[in-house]
């Protein structure tokens, strides 16, 4: 079976001349239909850029990105994106935010009244799925950060995207809320069956959620290692304490440190300490 997303020798260069930065170089990866892939790596490794390229929000300067064997041409409703924050529409109440895509032309073309009813039912279903029933008529700025991200996810799912792209969606949430969101997104993944590409800086999150963890390295941004997560498909919070989980977490963290250039920072600190000692 051909992959859902096929990234082939993708490169991305920002700027020109002395400002030229090679954000991505020769990145190749196939993501299967309904697969859950997470991306981790030191800052500057291009993980967010890669996600934005798949979303069509950024263009690549080399290689190809194919979805269902067709090259992507800009953003589209088949690839919905969830951002870290500030993406909800503060002038729309929660339910109206979720239904936002219904206001768009492509969502209204060639649609029967039965489909309109189904869509309305879907909005209600998503509201319950995300545990937002009580908040349907609230303004987004009345909600906590975790609730706001639930709305953002529900809104992204409304148009039944085949691919869901998430760019550090839980990065601004506290640890407890984040754990709840993890199980929620896994539930969504099982239920809605989107192909999920998820960028994070939290290694534990990356392992817990994913079928595969893609570790990227900076300067130039590239794929360093791909880890198959050795956990059963059905995840539970307790698995975070199993030896194989901890081993993988340690391994990935060590590799991120190796590729990040943080060791050179450590060298510099050591030198400073030595100078002070003298």
């Amino acid at each position: 079976m051909s992959p859902k997303i096929s990234i082939q020798q993708v490169g991305k260069v920002f700027g020109e001349g002395s400002h030229r930065v090679e954000a991505l170089k020769d990145v190749s990866l196939d993501i299967a239909d309904n697969e859950f892939v997470t991306f981790v790596g030191a800052s500057g490794c291009g993980k967010s850029t890669l996600l934005r390229i798949i979303g069509g929000l950024e263009y690549h300067t080399a290689g190809d990105v194919l979805v269902d064997d067709k090259p992507i041409m800009g953003p589209g409703a088949d690839r919905a994106m969830v951002f870290q924050h500030y993406s909800l529409y503060p002038w729309l109440k929660v339910m109206e935010n979720i239904k936002f895509s219904r206001r768009l032309k492509h969502g209204r073309e060639n649609i029967t009244s039965a489909e309109v009813e189904a869509a309305s039912g879907r909005a209600d279903a998503l509201l319950s799925l995300m545990g937002l029933n009580a908040a349907a008529n609230a303004w987004p700025n009345q909600l906590s950060g975790g609730m706001q991200q639930r709305v953002a996810i529900a809104r992204a799912l409304m148009g039944r995207p085949e691919i869901l792209l998430m760019d550090e969606p839980f990065g601004a949430l506290d640890a407890q809320t984040r754990e709840v969101m993890h199980d929620l997104i896994l539930h969504v993944h099982r239920l809605e069956k989107p192909t999920l590409a998820f960028v994070t800086h939290d290694v534990e999150e990356a392992i817990y959620l994913a079928d595969r963890v893609v570790l990227m390295a900076p300067r130039p941004g590239r794929i360093d290692t791909i880890y198959q997560v050795p956990l059963p498909a059905e995840r539970e919070q307790d698995m975070k304490h199993t030896p194989e989980f901890l081993r993988l977490k340690k391994e990935i963290l060590a590799r991120i440190r190796e590729t990040s250039g943080m060791e050179t920072d450590q060298d510099m600190l050591d030198q400073l300490n030595m100078q002070e000692a003298i």
């Binding site: 979303g55 069509g56 929000l57 800009g74 953003p75 589209g76 409703a77 690839r79 919905a80 994106m81 951002f83 870290q84 924050h85 500030y86 993406s87 909800l88 529409y89 503060p90 002038w91 936002f100 895509s101 206001r103 768009l104 032309k105 492509h106 969502g107 303004w139 987004p140 700025n141 009345q142 953002a152 809104r155 992204a156 409304m158 148009g159 792209l165």
Partner: protein, 273 residues
């Protein structure tokens, strides 16, 4: 610093940095701020030290207000001035809004218009009077034109900035839901910028009023600004006072109306305190 056992920090007073102020205290201080200058004015003008021609007292000013209202048709002066200011202001808002949306959304439009606008806004509006008389004539439209020139260029730049401040994530979220270019502008960028745009209108409305006197330099024979200029010729200092204060008062009322509209139109920004 060590302190006695059992000591507790006290509730911060109003003079603590960013300390609390109850509603009652707020209005008390506000009244003080308004009444103190009034009292000072009264005292200074009631003595023999200052000639009435230089500083008429509050009573003189009030009497003049009544006289203006009864004998000199104050209301028509006020309404013609309000008409000039609001018309000039509305014209400028109507043209500035679509331009600002384009400047804030499309970089080429920004490149073409922003430096040009920046240049023009530093030209003194007063200096355009001879040109306006030459091009537009001395009819009502000339006064409106001056107010337009005084507000439009600032307004465009401020509104463009409002549009540019719309969070990119809101725009990109719409794009990944399948929004087309026009839909993104209408359903996201414009909607998101609306509250800031109304605030900009409120602020620039104030500037429109400051250009009223200048506008009524041009062959006017009515209006508050014109009356102030005429009063100067006859050394009617009390009338000048009335005119200035009325302009201030009308400005204040309009400002409050804008704030009210903001609360009504954008309720999510005014939840609780």
């Amino acid at each position: 610093m060590p302190s006695r056992p059992g000591a507790r920090p006290r509730r911060p007073g109003m003079w603590a940095i960013r300390g609390p102020l109850s509603r009652r205290q707020y209005w008390l201080f506000a009244a003080l701020g308004l009444l103190a200058p009034l009292g000072l004015w009264w005292i200074m003008s009631s003595g023999a030290a200052v000639d009435k021609v230089f500083l008429p007292g509050p009573v003189d000013v009030f009497n003049r207000l009544v006289k203006w209202y009864v004998e000199d048709d104050l209301l028509s002066d006020m309404s013609i001035s309000v008409y000039r200011v609001t018309t000039g202001f509305l014209f400028s808002a109507l043209i500035a809004l679509p331009l600002a949306l384009m400047i804030g959304t499309f970089r080429p439009v920004q490149a073409v218009l922003e430096p040009l606008t920046d240049f023009i806004r530093y030209m003194p509006a007063v200096a355009f009077i001879p040109l306006v008389m030459l091009w537009v004539g001395i009819e009502e439209s000339s006064k409106i034109s001056i107010i337009f020139i005084g507000t439009f260029f600032q307004m465009v730049l401020m509104m463009a900035e409002d549009v540019r401040r719309v969070p990119l994530a809101q725009i990109e979220a719409a794009q990944t839901m399948g929004a087309r270019k026009g839909e993104t502008i209408n359903l996201v960028i414009f909607q998101a910028a609306k509250p800031a745009l109304l605030d900009t209108l409120r602020v620039t409305m104030g500037w429109a009023w400051t250009y009223l006197v200048v506008a009524e330099l041009v062959a006017a024979n009515s209006g508050l600004g014109y009356s102030i200029l005429k009063a100067q010729r006859f050394l009617q200092t009390d009338k000048i006072f009335v005119g200035i204060m009325l302009i201030g008062l009308i400005g204040l009322v309009m400002d409050q109306l804008f704030r009210l509209a903001h609360r009504k139109a954008f309720p999510w920004l005014h939840l609780r305190s």
